[in-house]
Symmetry: C2
Subunit: 297 residues, 2 copies
């Protein structure tokens, strides 16, 4: 089987303000560090341009949105070109007045923007009021072809849906990537916090297992206060990780630290893993039709 060795990295950061240009520069510094270390692909965390503004529903926050192309894509496209890497960034996309998405954009070395993915599953929970801001994506689950392989880019809440990972894998993704912003409510006790983090890591490692491909997850770190009085704020739990095609952890960042991860992967190993445990061979495609229903009643 063909060896396809790639060095992949991600950046886990805390965000301290809403100056987008400044935040882009801070991210770019770490991307450059990783590129210097040999990274051919770098993933940034979800909505890295600003604080996680979805802690409130505030129409003024639509001012943070970016058109595609726009100032942000010009900046990151130039960065990917200069460093000669594949770069996956996250944007609050303004598609039209009153129509916004939570979008990831992929730049490929000197080829510019080669694709985008609009978050398909949109959460809405106390402190994560994303349904106010983001229209559910219309890109479907289509991997983005790059010079290092096909990227199955998904975003945060998508991580809880085995269907999304499966469809990306069936469409030929070589690797799944999840830019993320998730954290704890300090009012929960430590056992609940541990269960939440553990379920989050498990579900994403399970996508590697079920589909025989590597998974990388870039999460935010740091505490961000809520603009809403009485709300708890979010303690982003970091712990970004990269897992191999059997779901095994290859690298994991700390909870509180700004940190980069860098791993050398053989993308060809997926075939070895799938030959030994050939789950795709035995899918009961005659019996899955009702997955497309809301509930079976």
């Amino acid at each position: 089987m063909e060896r396809r060795t790639v060095k992949i990295g991600l950046v886990q950061q805390a965000v301290s303000g809403n100056n987008r240009q400044e935040n882009w520069l801070l991210s770019a510094e770490q991307v450059a560090v990783l590129a210097e270390q040999g990274a051919e692909l770098v993933l940034l965390q979800e909505l890295h341009s600003t604080l996680y503004f979805c802690q409130e529903e505030n129409a003024a926050n639509f001012d943070f949105a970016e058109t595609i192309p726009g100032e942000a894509t010009v900046f990151f496209e130039a960065l990917a070109r200069r460093l000669n890497i594949v770069l996956v960034v996250s944007l609050f996309e303004k598609r039209a007045p009153g129509l916004h998405h939570n979008t990831a954009v992929v730049f490929d070395r000197d080829r510019g923007m080669v694709g985008k993915y609009r978050k398909m599953h949109i959460p809405d929970d106390p402190g994560y009021y994303e349904k106010f801001y983001f229209s559910p994506g219309d890109t479907g689950f289509t991997p983005i072809a790059t010079s290092i392989g096909k990227l199955g880019v998904l975003i945060c809440w998508d991580q809880w849906y085995p269907e999304a990972a499966r469809l990306m894998a069936m469409a030929g993704a070589d690797i799944l990537l999840y830019p993320t912003a998730i954290g704890w409510d300090d009012q929960d006790d430590s056992e609940e916090k541990q269960r939440q983090h553990s379920s989050w890591e498990i579900i994403q490692r399970s996508h590697a297992v079920a589909n025989g491909l590597p998974v990388m997850v870039a999460n935010r770190t740091g505490f961000e206060v809520s603009p809403m009085s009485g709300a708890a704020g979010i303690r982003f739990w970091g712990q970004s990780f990269i897992a191999g095609a059997q779901g095994e952890i290859l690298a994991r960042a700390g909870i509180d630290s700004e940190e980069n991860l860098l791993v050398t992967l053989d993308l060809g190993r997926s075939e070895q893993v799938r030959r030994n445990w050939p789950f795709f061979r035995d899918r009961r495609i005659d019996a899955y039709r009702e997955i497309s229903r809301c509930w079976l009643d």
Copy 2:
């Protein structure tokens, strides 16, 4: 929310021979122990009546198959009635001459047999030649209603398929149950063994996470030699477990020990978990249709 507390148990055993009646009695002893301790539901491991005969393709092994109803169902039906429990057993089912299934049967206290599930995904790997013995099930993914709740019974290889767990949950399963027979090849190194076991536990815990319901898994333990010369045999890795609706481990058996697990669960907790992290609310049922295809090319 309604509390629905139940005591559930499982039996992890080594099998040392093919005397079915003797193996039934050994299992029945442990089922009685669990019932004595208050278990209202007991799960037995996969194909507990015999050694794991699928290590070879041998037509003589069809002699181990049981009709439904038949001697095995008469035995376990009486056991469930006598102990006043819900009992989930695993059978090599003879449906017709030349047509066999890997089947789980559910007995409910004095109501007798209330349902069966025929393994839908059939493996075929060195040492696990199941496609020779078992026709893929035709029951679909339908939970079995019992006096303690709806049981989403699946079997071993099914555990690798998020689709199966999802469809059981969408059809109203209160809990997923996996009778299993999986183990190591002693020729693999310890890192590979660790990755295999870990991926197996993770994928099943992920079904709890994705669907917000508890999962119980009864695996075989002990080493069984292969009847085929030069084959490694299987070191069944035990480690049966019960996980809660966030995927958290509530009880886990050892690798080498015959052991029972017993846990008190509040089935009503699933609703609390799903209220907090409402994954079912946000499924993109408009975008999952191609799950029913073999591959996207």
